[in-house]
Amino acid sequence: MTQKNRLQDGGRIDRSKALTFTYNGKKYTGFEGDTLASALLANGVDIIGRSFKYSRPRGIVAAGAEEPNAIMQVGATEATQIPNVRATQQSLYGGLVAGSTNGWPSVDNDMMGLVGKVGGKMMPPGFYYKTFMYPKSMWETYESFIRKAAGLGRAPKENDPDIYDKMNQHCDVIIVGAGPAGLAAALTAARAGARVIIADEQNEFGGSLLSSTELLDGKPAAEWVADVVKELSTYDDVLMLPNSQVNGYHDHNFLTIQQHCTDQFADRAPNGQVAQRYHRVRAKWVVLATGAHERPLVYGNNDVPGCMVANAVSTYINRYGVVPGKNLVLMTSNNNAYRTALDWHDAGRNVVAIVDSRKNPQGTFVDAARERGISIMVGSGVIEAHGSKRVTGVSIAPLNDAGDAVVGPIIKMAADTVASSGGWSPVIHLSCHTGSRPVWNDDILGFVPGTTYQKQLTAGAINGSFTTEQALAEGVSAAADALTHLGMTKKDVVLPKAETIEEGKAMALFHIPHTKPTSKAPKQFVDYQNDVTASGIELACREGFESIEHVKRYTAMGFGTDQGKLGNINGMAIAAKMLNQTIPQTGTTIFRPNYTPVTFGAIAGRDCGALFDPERYTAMHAWHVERGAKFEDVGQWKRPWYYPQGNETMQQALDRECLATRKSVGILDASTLGKIDIQGKDAREFLGRVYTNAWAKLPVGKCRYGLMCGEDGMVFDDGVTSCLAENHFLMTTTSGGAARVLSWLEIYHQTEWPELEVFFTSVTDHWSTMTISGPNSRKLLEKLTDYDVSKENMAFMDWKPMTVAGVPARVFRISFTGELSFEINVQANYGMHVWKALFEHGEEFNLTPYGTETMHILRAEKGFIIAGQDTDGSVHPFDLGMSWAVSMQKPFSFIGKRGMQREDCVRENRKQLVGLKTIDPKAVLPEGAQGVLDPKAPIPMPMVGHVTSSYWSANLNRSVAMGFVKGGLDKMGERVFYPLADGRVIEAEICSPVFLDPKGERQNV
């Protein structure tokens, strides 16, 4: 197909570089420098989508971020699909594959359009709230149809092959927008030596100057742009980011920029390159030079392809060399838009008429139009466009002074394009992100940024300063202000001379009246993407939705992917008129990030998969892997769970590990246990305050188990702490709780008891810890040390420094299995050496490595709790039957003491941790099973507590379990029933949680 709308010359495209692309299965050609939208228009493609609710054919309306219609599915392969790409912001590249997101069988002939025409009348705003209720059972069916009809593009079915980067940036000034104001600001800041970032969403800098015929110093504006860009590129401290949208402005001048690195130019990033880079910027000062968006006017059938925003038409002509039609009608309420008629005329096409709502337009552009002999119809409006798949003509009628009524006969004219302009809306979005409320300015008929707590300056059209001359001057002065705040000295910046333009006064006009009332007139669209019409807004107001937020939410205005950039002000104006209010009284809506949609992958960056959260390994990890261990995630740690051999099932492996340990000796990698080194003359006092038991008399060389509670008296961690020297202790914590315990100690030390001299250091990673456990553990240890580890020299709960396998070690005679156990701690870098040495000597004892699951079983046989499994933040030591670990007599009221004495904590019938012996010894209670006293009680059944730990014990040849039972400590021997989901009821007897060796003889040998 030929590019029938392409001009022979002009524009910023490279006609020598033709690019082939595919749209809806057909091949087309465009040029380098095109957007997908300009290339489609060049090829005369009118319909690029179907509307959401009524399935009306839609065409390209705008040329930038504000485009509501041209929403494309882009991607040449399944894995590279991107939904909802705005064609106006997508650079054209060779091989681009795009398609429209709605329409069946095609956008040109959409069957749903019939439904829209017939059913549309029954679909005013909020219609779904009023129907689909009866019969109740049908809602799901209705809903499935609604869901199928909704949505735009689709997600890929395959994983994303691209990679995305993040970069943290710091600068003195960030300038958002590289139009005249932004470039002038950047130049000023750069010359003063400031660190500058200037970012712009477009593929080249220049902003409005790229699509304008304006002259600066008598030369095309683009030449000035090129000079500035060239100068900026010479400064080391200036970072220029084209193709980069500043999407969010967060508190304390933190901004995010989505930079398109390769995804604007290729279906997927070339190997090794990133698709997008996300910049996280902390700026000392922010200059918003974000420009303005032109507002279309709202009139009948204003969505027929060929109806466009005036400035967009100019942009396509001047920047892309595309005239999107032959016969133009321009409707305007201001002088500025006359430029579009001039551009159209100068491109050699026919301007049918300029329809100006004002009675007596005057000014530079009006004169220029008259000079060209263009017909100007004053005091009039286009009340309706004709055509369905392309504009074929318009109805024009005279309007009254207020612009809210048709006051004369309709004139029909043939045309294929209607450009309209209701003035310009400053792009204030970013200024709203930090909570600043915009302020209505009557002079410019738009909202401008309000007061802010950020270090934010604004320049150019965002302030309603719409001429190039104003923009340049404000750019310089904003940068100068920033420099003053930064204590930097401004250097001279000579601005180019812009053309002097005599602007006439614009008319406040948003909604063109029709001869029929709005409710009966042809549809007048306000928000194209969500099919929100003027009559819809009026209906919402009539029904009592009077707040602009209600109007928005009821009609869905502004909820599209364009977030109401084109339509919101028009919608507010229509609501204001309906409610007899001014626009500022009606209020505005607050824009939230993002300015334009951002790829999830770009925000996630590389922080997924293995990098989602760091994996922590012990020094012996490689050995575990080699041994075929299955791993369990405990906090960030990868801990060996069990070590299956051959074709063993998990249970078989566990049985073997459990039996071997109790029979001879097993070994556990316990390095993940949290370890905190505590030193200082008040260390002992401090321990007494944070643990529930007494520490005053623990001698050097001894270890003690302690419970740690919150101020509420509830247990949150436990562990063994050893006295290394008089003022030196080593605390151990649960593997997952280490960080929390350390900050717990720190906050109490720093904020409550700073007078105590005590220091905490996390030493978890400094030490490798291996626990050998079982009757032969001493014999094994003796093979590796000359130290006397006999019962006499090293009693239970002693620790001794010694040399093990030739390296210095701390060995603790503590036990979590109930067996004779030694916990060998060596410097982490010796860990693997000692571990292997143990195995070298362990063969004769059948030294068996065991994982966390066997550890759990062995400790459960002994009734030892695991904080976090047998506690849940709602149980105090007495609930756990651990009153032996609480010393109420300590002089200092330790943390938790007062809390555990509150009324509810000392009441009868609290849930208490007990042993549970199943009546059928082979039955293993599921962990999490809920107990009841009467299994035949009706639902809801009164529950008495849940099973916290439950295992098959190979050593006891029966199941063992622990769990909570209301008042359980006084109910020994009584029965509890566990009704399971599969219908079984397991019966258990309440017993002591110590199933094995109740006297503790095995560990005391």
């Binding site: 709230y129 009023k130 809602w139 937020e549 996630a604 959260d613 499994q869 509150r902 999490g928 099973a929």
Partner: protein, 417 residues
């Protein structure tokens, strides 16, 4: 009240929808009411509706400083479920669930309650123990629920990555089929319309500047717009402003107000049929009828009334979502926003008498308020009508923070929702 139906839509289409009645009046307040409800969000409006409809108290005003349903009702991620752990919370949320199930018909307003089911994923052995515990408790409490393994989860949500590639592979999930989502704004509007039809005065754009307290008893409120308005009983349902209101009454609450952020993608074709939540990976997602992926995670750690939070929270949330759903990587985030949630130390609400006589508070719902809307309104209405707390509300007295009878639902609220 004008009855809504498909037939009505057809009928009104012939008159170009010009004759629809107002959904609610815009009344000038009376001098005195039996009950004033401060706060016209979902919970306040539900309270007013049930007061008038179920408990015959129609001389009621709802006073709202902004627009109806404009607080967290307008800002949440619309998830409805009742699979809470502790009996007290489970019964309260299940009470709400039962009301949700007939709400559109009761209100004659389609709140689009969609029982698409909810998966709470488990990624560690302890997650799975907690899931077993909660689902067993739910089952014995009469709340639907099942424990699923990873394979069953994969069948329900094909786009969820249940492979070992993940940093924390999915081990299983709890599944509540009756859970789902609802159209949040419609809930407020439906209750408002129903309350108005029963004679409740809905007073918008009217800020309560002070509570009028005489001899330790509340007797009304003082507003900027209408001066004093008297009432026998006052119920405060002002999420995001509860502590400020309590201060007017001279007491503190055990609350901290935090930003809670959420976000939506651009609308895409149906791809996610149920609600998927993960405490451990820390994110959750569902897909709205409009096609947006509705996504959220936890609260920001600091107090904030700014209706916005920190970018890192959004960043971590998206990381979690892409980690769980790698095929969403090329989908794009459209918009983010923040609400203000009043969090209680035990992640359960306060529905309570206060130190001031005849003054009642319903607050502290943290991240779990929306799903409770009808239940919260119903039990609060019953309490205001009788001047005595409803049995389901009793465990949620603010005085539990004195005697220690907390209902710790942190497990259920690990991820905001």
């Amino acid at each position: 009240m004008q009855h809504y139906s498909g037939f009505g839509l057809l009928k009104h289409s012939f008159s170009h929808h010009e004759n629809w009645q107002r959904v609610w009046r815009n009344p000038t307040p009376k001098k005195k009411y039996d009950v004033i409800i401060v706060g016209g969000g979902g919970h306040g409006l539900a309270t007013a509706y049930y007061l008038a409809k179920e408990f015959g108290v129609t001389n009621v005003a709802v006073i709202e400083k902004g627009f109806l349903g404009g607080g967290n009702t307008a800002r949440n991620t619309t998830i409805v479920r009742s699979n809470y752990l502790w009996d007290e919370a489970a019964h309260l949320y299940e009470h709400a669930m039962k009301l949700w199930e007939g709400l559109s018909q009761d209100l004659n307003y389609n709140v689009m309650f969609s029982q698409r089911g909810c998966l709470n994923l488990g990624h560690t052995l302890q997650d799975m123990r907690d899931i077993e515990r909660r689902v067993n408790a739910n089952r014995l409490n009469g709340i639907d629920g099942e424990v699923l393994d990873a394979k069953q989860v994969q069948e329900i949500v094909p786009v969820l990555d249940c492979s070992d590639r993940a940093r924390y592979p999915v081990m299983g999930a709890s599944w509540q089929p009756r859970a789902g989502v609802a159209r949040h704004d419609a809930v407020a509007w439906g209750f408002a319309r129903g309350a108005d039809a029963h004679g409740v005065d809905l007073i918008q754009q009217t800020e309560v500047e002070d509570l009028i307290i005489e001899d330790g008893t509340v007797v009304g409120v003082r507003t900027a717009r209408y001066g004093e308005i008297r009432a026998d009983r006052v119920g405060c349902v002002v999420a995001g402003n509860s502590s400020v209101m309590a201060k007017m009454a001279g007491f503190e609450l055990p609350l901290e107000s935090h930003p809670l952020q959420a976000l939506v993608s651009e609308p895409i074709k149906p791809i996610l049929d149920t609600v998927v939540m993960s405490n451990h990976v820390h994110g959750y997602a569902s897909q709205s009828d409009k096609g947006d992926l509705v996504i959220g995670a936890g609260i920001d750690g600091y107090n904030g009334y700014g209706q916005r939070g920190s970018y890192t929270t959004i960043e971590h949330t998206i990381q979690a979502i892409v980690e769980m759903f790698p095929v969403f990587s090329r989908v794009r985030m459209n918009r983010q926003w923040g609400g203000i949630v009043d969090t209680c130390p035990d992640a359960c609400p306060i529905i309570s008498e206060t130190p001031v006589k005849n003054l009642f508070f319903n607050c502290g719902w943290g991240t779990g308020g929306f799903k409770a809307t009808p239940g919260s309104g119903h039990v609060f209405a019953a309490s205001l009508a009788k001047g005595e707390m409803h049995p389901l509300a009793k465990p949620f007295s603010m005085f539990r923070f004195h005697n220690g009878a907390l209902v710790d639902e942190h497990g259920a609220a690990g991820v905001a929702h």
